[in-house]
């Protein structure tokens, strides 16, 4: 099973991605997903996401392969959007499928915790009053990712 990894400006379709991991199969017992969306905190007008083309895909492919080694997955999809995204827009999708519920749930949490802290994306906030601000990394995200190192 090869994880599907995409970096794109376009929106993604959760139903379509889910169908792709289950269509014609009868061995999938659980499908876990996480969708991260753009919140409109403090008058946010848009998030602008940039990434490091090449490194991003390599890094995500490597962590997806690690997830497949740690859990018995039948499918794994990671889609991360870039560009200008308005409040309410979906930013990232992690979708994992397995015969076993716990494997799907845990690998999904593992992948999104990792994406938050180790994938080369950067977010700039644009506000309605014209201000701009680069989002700073959060210690709580580092802690969430680090718990998988010990596990």
């Amino acid at each position: 099973m090869t994880p599907s990894i995409r970096i794109q400006e376009a929106p993604f379709d959760l139903a379509e991605e889910t169908a792709a991991l289950t269509a014609g199969r009868e061995d999938v017992g659980g499908l876990a997903s996480f969708v991260g969306l753009c919140r409109a905190d403090d008058g946010l007008a848009a998030l602008v996401l940039e990434h490091y083309p090449g490194m991003t895909e390599r890094a995500i492919a490597r962590i997806a392969a690690e997830a497949c080694a740690r859990w018995p997955l039948t499918g794994c999809t990671v889609i991360h959007r870039i560009g200008r995204l308005p409040p309410g827009a979906p930013i990232v999708l992690v979708l994992t499928a397995s015969s076993h519920r716990a494997a799907a749930l845990e690998s999904c949490a593992f992948l999104i915790d990792w994406l938050k802290t180790r994938a080369p994306f950067w977010k700039r906030e644009e506000f309605a009053d014209g201000r701009e601000r680069w989002v700073e990394a959060k210690e709580s995200d580092d802690a969430a990712a680090a718990r998988w190192d010990a596990a």
Partner: protein, 83 residues
């Protein structure tokens, strides 16, 4: 040697990438940062606080003491904020 900049590092340097030929005494990531900081006021501002900057060499995260070779692709950026 190709150097890439992302996020506010790119904004401060004023360009997204450049080809550089540092002198032979620039042997590692920290040395390259110090050398780059002297190239322009924008570079100086970008690298003023080296502890807030992360690096990658050939698309892998790298520590300040990682050795560099002439053909490397080196990138500088703030801590990542994806997901």
């Amino acid at each position: 040697m190709r150097v890439l900049y992302f996020a506010w590092v790119r904004q401060k340097v004023g360009k997204a990438e450049e080809e550089v030929a540092p002198p032979a005494e620039v042997r590692d990531v920290a040395g390259l940062m110090a050398w780059l900081a002297a190239q322009s006021p924008g570079h100086a501002e970008a690298f003023a606080n080296a502890r807030t900057i992360r690096a990658a060499v050939n698309q892998e995260f790298a520590r300040p003491d990682q050795a560099l070779a002439a053909g490397d692709e080196v990138a500088f950026f703030p801590p990542v904020t994806g997901g």
